[in-house]
């Protein structure tokens, strides 16, 4: 039930982001983007406290990330150049998402957003997902035709991510 998996570069821009409900991808962009604050905070805290310790898993970023108390129909005026129309988009606030973070030694971050309505996900499952993600990412980096810093366009990585999402859901 991972609904979104993102790889964030050291400079905090997305290298890869993929979500399951494709039609509302922007929502996940926002979700992952805001969770970077915590990731950074955690990294800096770790850096201060125990530089040697090689725990890459950051754990829960926002444990109960649901904006359930918010007005349920937050209307965002969206604009497209040809015709303007109002779309109900920001139901982002209604989702209950749990975000998990993971940071590699090269400060590349992985964020997994899970649907928290499903509580069967245990900590070590998340860990193993991250480990798989890390391995796959390492493969991508090993590709001599990949420029570090470019967005990831790898079929192998893609299929691994989608497998992860399917398997989890």
């Amino acid at each position: 039930m991972a609904v979104c998996i993102a790889v964030i570069a050291k400079e905090n821009y997305p290298l890869y982001i993929r979500s399951v409900p494709v039609q509302n991808e922007l929502k996940f962009h926002y979700t992952v983007h805001t969770s970077l604050d915590v990731v950074e905070e955690k990294i800096s805290a770790v850096g201060k406290a125990m530089a040697d310790q090689r725990e890459l898993y950051l754990g829960l970023l926002y444990p109960t990330e649901d904006y359930k108390v918010y007005p349920s129909h937050m209307i965002i005026v969206y604009y497209t150049p040809v015709c303007m129309f109002f779309i109900l988009i920001e139901n982002i606030l209604l989702y209950r998402h749990t975000r998990y973070g993971y940071v590699t030694n090269s400060k590349v971050k992985f964020v997994i957003v899970a649907d928290s309505s499903n509580t069967s996900l245990r900590d070590n499952e998340i860990r193993s997902m991250f480990r798989k993600l890390h391995n796959s990412f390492t493969d991508v980096m090993c590709n001599p035709f990949y420029n570090p810093g470019d967005t990831i366009q790898s079929k192998a990585f893609d299929s691994m991510v989608s497998a992860m999402m399917v398997q989890a859901s």
Partner: protein
């Protein structure tokens, strides 16, 4: 209590609340001016004690909130200052009434109140009243601050008395139960005598006293009271008040630990007042009781003892806050209190730099439900959340909430959407999404960031700015979107964005000026350098004919080097230098100069670029803008931009100017690192005249030369070429030089190919603009078309050669065509001769004038002359025949007409020879022999030279040719027969020199003197010789009769001896002949080399022996007899 005060912070607990309000009609700005002055008295140190009183002013306060004053005393309005205008004494009672009404609103809690009356003068104003102050006007109120201080002091007195009253009221049997508004009904009918109830009363009162102590500046007492209250309330499970007591404890500890305050600058306590910051600034200086002073010892030593145990540590503060908030959370009606406590805790955590925990508090605050919020409250709530996130360094979260707030401003449920506020809030989110509106930040490499989010934000900015009625901003944002996010937009989006951009620009064209927003934010201009994308910029040289050249002599001045060293191994290889490096060629003032750009259109549709021009610096430059239309997804497309420099100097092509979709942009090359350029600085020299060349001949093809003419000529033909030079520039033409250079060096060219007379043209200088001058050039072609080696074949080897000697006819024509005799040879030779040879030359006109001439520049105009030379007449063979006279000979020439026309050849003897096309005829020309040695240098070169010269003279229309002068050196072997013999023999008969065709007359019976003179022309001495003269008769039928002893007799010997003759000398021998009969006699002169005595006869050809023809006539006497 429904409206939370998001600005609250922990130290607000020690303040007393004073409400400042206008009464009646007070101009708003005047009120706020007074309000500002009043609020400057935020802290008053009380006389006779070391305590300070802090005042919190509000100009608006809900009485509803006031009801919570018992719960937390800083929420209680204790002072009221009213500001009013009173024009006359009549109005005074009314004003006074109003003031009393207002007092009643907060009546129950007020300690004291003041009325400031402005504008009233006279009797009433004279009264000395403590609660009313009169001022003549808003400008004339010097002691407002003093009044407020007095007022605050009076409040303090009441406060202090209350505190003492409550604090000492321990033994009082009846402690009133303090309660919050919503509790009141819960306690109806409760047993007031139970221990539980009493404890509750005690605890709440303790807490209340703690609040009062804190407000009165007695921090230590407050801490003690709070601790006691916590214990009391905990035992009775009075959670709401327990929370309040814990919060009070936290506040007191925070005040103790962080004397600088927790509000921070970012929170902006009172947005309308800059004063808020001033307060924060001096907050650090103010002395707090109980806090450590500079020397580390508190003034109040008694409180020193209890501090350590009463005051909470930083960790504990947070723990206690958590606890308090969790207690508040149990009461639905205390949502505001809970929320405010969260905000306060976050501020404390922000100071402690514990972002993670702070975010947890904030998270909690987000979930606190305050019931139905108004839209305005929502906006306020989101923006305060955003601010708090910003405070703890969570910029992304902050941006997220700010954006939500912005969206809330324009929610459809709001009747009047605040687009302006929305736009302002959206702008503030930019930093959180790491987006900067300066396009320069995006010029470096590919875009990296949260593209989807950023594109969305930009779209929102565009829409908001449009709705707030500022299309200029929309255009700016849209162009920014196009410029920076172009790669990330889909084709459909690109189309839509550009369409709407065009819509907006029709109302408000986009420009390059910096847009300044009301709040001071500057929107830098966005040059659309990606529409189209420019790949390279190349400055083009002027066309060849207009390129200026520097006079050679002035080159030294140009060698200005920066370094004093002739050679330096240090070469500057910086990119910047490359960019600005100067270009070899020069431009000329007043001439159209070109710059070539390679552009391509990244859009999926046709792109119209208008007013594309050059941006330059350094020189006044008139750019001539171009409009172009690039097809969709075009490849690299060359575009030439032109312009005219108007002054001289160094011009720097700094960029280009475009107008796309109604947005004009100036794209500077410095900001476009992807553009390749070979240098942008070029020297512009002063103006020079410009010549246009036209010729009388057609121009068949364009060549790399500026112009060229082509003409077809037969070999030897001359044609006149008229060249007209017109000055089409704006400067006078002052000098003109003409030179020519033949390009084709393979061909042997004889004589002057191009010749002209410049004198006439030069005499017309200086040439004013618009005038023209003509020059006539003669084009002459003289080429060697001869076959070369077979030319010199001996004519004797073919059957048609004439061998008979002597030939009486001087010119002998052999009418037999050569083709008949030698078909094969002529066939091959024909193909050889048929080809057309080309001759090319370049005429260069070097001219100068005007200001450019002063600087030593000139221009070249070149005219290519291309001549196709067709062969006309060949001499296929040349040979000689001896003529009848020893001093002359016959030159035999096989003349071949290779043209398709009938032609006539005439030689010097005016005898015309008509040749039909492809006909070959032999002609003989009688030429005089000449002295071989007197020729200047009859070497091989001369042979080559003279041979074609001879040939060309016999041309289609040539009327005369002087062969004799040059014939001698046709070739070495030929010249043997052509030249005079090494020794020549002159025979003088009867006093007359005698030669072949001269018949010497003599009379029979007379002695005919005969003189034979030998002249040595060789370089060696010759002789001695024996010379024998033998007479004979020729019957003209091949029979020669030598038996003439009867007819001719010699007087003396017929044999002479000639001694050795030295070079150039001569020797003569005399004899006489006597003819006995009439008749034609010939003399045969034979030589014998007598030197060795062997008497060998020498061939007559060595000496060029003349045959002497003597006609003996009958003597007239005899005839007479």
């Amino acid at each position: 209590m429904s409206i939370p005060d998001y600005m609250q912070c922990a130290e607000d607990h020690q303040t007393v609340l004073v409400v400042v309000q206008p009464v009646g009609i007070v101009p708003e700005d005047e009120f706020f001016r007074i309000y500002k002055r009043i609020t400057s008295v935020a802290q008053v140190s009380i006389r006779d004690s070391q305590r300070n009183l802090y005042i919190r002013y509000r100009h608006h306060y809900l009485p509803e909130n006031n009801e919570w004053g018992d719960f937390q005393t800083h929420r209680k309005v204790v002072g009221l200052i009213s500001v009013t205008t009173c024009g006359s004494a009549k109005e005074w009672p009314q004003t006074s009434d109003r003031f009393h009404c207002q007092k009643d609103v907060f009546g129950a809690t007020l300690y004291d109140s003041r009325l400031l009356v402005f504008g009233l003068q006279g009797e009433i104003a004279e009264q000395q009243r403590t609660d009313v102050a009169f001022y003549p006007s808003y400008d004339d109120c010097p002691d407002v601050e003093k009044r407020v201080e007095d007022f605050v002091e009076s409040i303090f007195i009441v406060l202090e008395s209350k505190r003492l009253d409550r604090a000492t009221d321990k033994s009082g049997d009846k402690i009133p139960l303090l309660c919050v508004p919503f509790e009141k009904k819960d306690f109806v009918g409760l047993d007031t005598d139970s221990r539980h109830y009493k404890k509750r009363c005690q605890g709440r009162m303790r807490k209340h006293v703690g609040d009062l102590c804190l407000q009165a500046g007695m921090l230590q007492d407050a801490l003690v009271h709070y601790h006691m209250a916590v214990e009391l309330l905990r035992s009775v499970n009075d959670f709401l008040w327990l929370g309040a007591a814990l919060e009070g404890l936290c506040s007191a500890s925070v005040i103790f630990h962080y004397p600088g305050g927790t509000a921070g600058k970012a929170s902006g306590r009172e947005p309308s007042l800059a004063h808020g910051q001033g307060q924060a600034a001096d907050a650090g200086k103010r002395h707090r009781p109980g806090a450590l002073t500079a020397n580390g010892i508190s003034a109040d030593t008694s409180s020193e003892i209890g501090r350590a145990k009463n005051c909470l540590g930083p960790e504990d503060i947070i723990e206690k806050y958590k606890e308090a908030i969790s207690y508040y959370g149990k009461y639905k009606n205390a949502g505001v209190i809970e929320l405010e406590a969260c905000v306060k805790a976050v501020r404390v955590l922000a100071i402690q730099k514990r972002a993670m925990e702070a975010s947890e508090f904030l998270q909690n605050a987000v979930y606190i439900n305050l019931g139905q919020l108004s839209e305005e409250e929502k906006i306020q709530r989101y923006s305060i959340l955003s601010e708090l996130y910003h405070l703890i360094g969570f910029h992304r979260k902050s941006a997220f909430f700010k954006r939500v707030a912005a969206m809330q401003c324009v929610a459809p449920t709001i009747p009047e959407p605040g687009w302006r506020a929305c736009y302002k809030l959206l702008l503030e989110t930019l930093s959180g999404y790491s987006l900067c509106l300066d396009p320069k930040d995006f010029s470096k490499g590919s875009h990296r960031g949260w593209a989807a989010v950023q594109v969305r934000l930009l779209h929102e900015l565009v829409y908001a700015s449009r709705r707030m009625g500022n299309p200029g901003l929309s255009v700016r944002h849209l162009s920014f979107l196009l410029q920076t996010m172009l790669d990330l937009l889909s084709d459909q989006e690109k189309k839509e964005v550009t369409q709407s951009l065009e819509n907006y620009t029709s109302k408000c064209p986009g420009g390059m000026e910096v847009l300044t927003l009301p709040d001071g934010l500057k929107l830098p201009p966005v040059p659309l350098s990606k529409l189209p994308i420019v790949r390279s910029v190349k400055l083009l040289d002027l066309p060849v004919s207009l390129r200026p050249h520097k006079q050679k002599g002035l080159l030294e001045n140009n060698m200005s080097s920066k370094s004093p060293f002739i050679y330096s191994p240090i070469i500057m290889h910086t990119r910047g230098e490359e960019r600005t490096k100067k270009i070899e060629f020069r431009w000329v003032q007043g001439d159209v100069c070109e710059v070539q750009l390679m552009v391509y259109n990244p859009m999926p549709f046709e792109l119209r670029v208008e007013h594309m021009g050059l941006l330059t610096s350094g020189v006044e430059f008139e750019a001539l803008p171009a409009a172009l239309s690039l097809p969709a997804e075009s490849g690299l497309y060359p575009v030439t931009l032109v312009g005219v420099p108007r002054t001289a100097g160094n011009i720097n092509i700094s960029g280009y100017h475009t107008s796309v979709f109604g947005v004009t942009s100036d794209c500077l090359l410095d900001g476009l690192p992807s553009v390749r350029t070979s240098g942008c600085v070029v020297e512009v020299i002063p103006s020079l005249p410009r010549l246009q060349l036209s010729t009388s001949l057609p121009r068949p093809f364009s060549s790399r030369l500026s112009s060229s003419v082509s003409v077809q000529l037969f070999n030897g033909e001359t044609q006149q070429l008229t060249i007209t030079l017109e000055n089409i520039g704006s400067e006078d033409l002052e000098t003109l030089e003409v030179t020519s250079k033949t390009c084709n060096t393979k061909e042997k060219l004889f004589g002057e190919f191009l010749s002209w007379d410049l004198e006439e043209a030069v005499s017309q200088l200086p040439l004013k603009p618009g005038q023209s001058v003509t020059l006539t050039v003669n084009v002459k072609v003289r080429l060697d078309f001869s076959g070369g080696e077979n030319l010199l074949q001996d004519l004797n080897d073919d059957g048609i050669s004439v061998t008979g000697l002597p030939i009486s006819s001087p010119l002998r024509q052999v009418l037999k065509p050569r083709a008949e005799t030698k078909p094969l040879g002529s066939e091959s030779s024909k193909t050889d001769y048929n080809h057309v040879k080309t001759l090319e030359a370049v005429m260069t006109f070097k001219y100068s004038g005007g200001a450019g001439k002063m600087e030593g520049y000139y221009r070249d105009l070149s005219l290519g002359v291309h001549v196709d030379v067709e062969p006309s007449v060949f001499f296929t063979r040349v040979s000689t025949l001896p003529a009848t006279r020893t001093r002359q000979c016959h030159l035999l020439l096989d003349v071949f007409n290779s043209t398709e026309h009938e032609l006539m050849v005439s030689a010097n003897n005016n005898q015309d020879l008509v040749l039909h096309p492809s006909e070959c005829q032999r002609m003989a020309i009688q030429v005089a022999k000449f002295d071989f040695h007197t020729l200047p240098q009859p070497d091989q070169e001369a042979v080559r030279y003279t041979n074609p010269k001879l040939l060309e003279e016999e041309r289609l229309h040539a009327q005369a040719s002087m062969i004799s002068s040059t014939l001698g050196s046709l070739s070495v072997s030929l010249s043997l027969s052509l030249s005079l013999c090494s020794s020549s023999l002159d025979v003088v008969v009867n006093g007359k020199p005698c030669d072949c065709d001269i018949i010497a007359d003599c009379k029979v019976g007379d002695a005919v003197p005969l003189e034979v003179k030998l002249t040595n022309r060789s370089k060696n001495a010759v002789g001695p010789f024996a010379l024998t003269v033998v007479p004979f008769q020729d019957y003209q039928n091949g029979v020669q009769n030598y038996d003439l002893q009867d007819a001719v007799t010699f007087i003396g010997s017929n044999t002479f001896y000639i001694d050795m003759v030295k070079p150039t000398e001569n020797s003569a021998c005399m004899g006489a002949l006597l003819f006995l009969y009439t008749g034609d006699f010939y003399l045969n002169i034979k030589f014998q080399d007598d030197s060795a005595g062997q008497g060998k006869e020498l061939p007559p050809s060595w000496f060029g022996l003349p045959s002497v023809h003597i006609k003996a006539l009958e003597a007239p006497i005899e005839a007479g007899a």
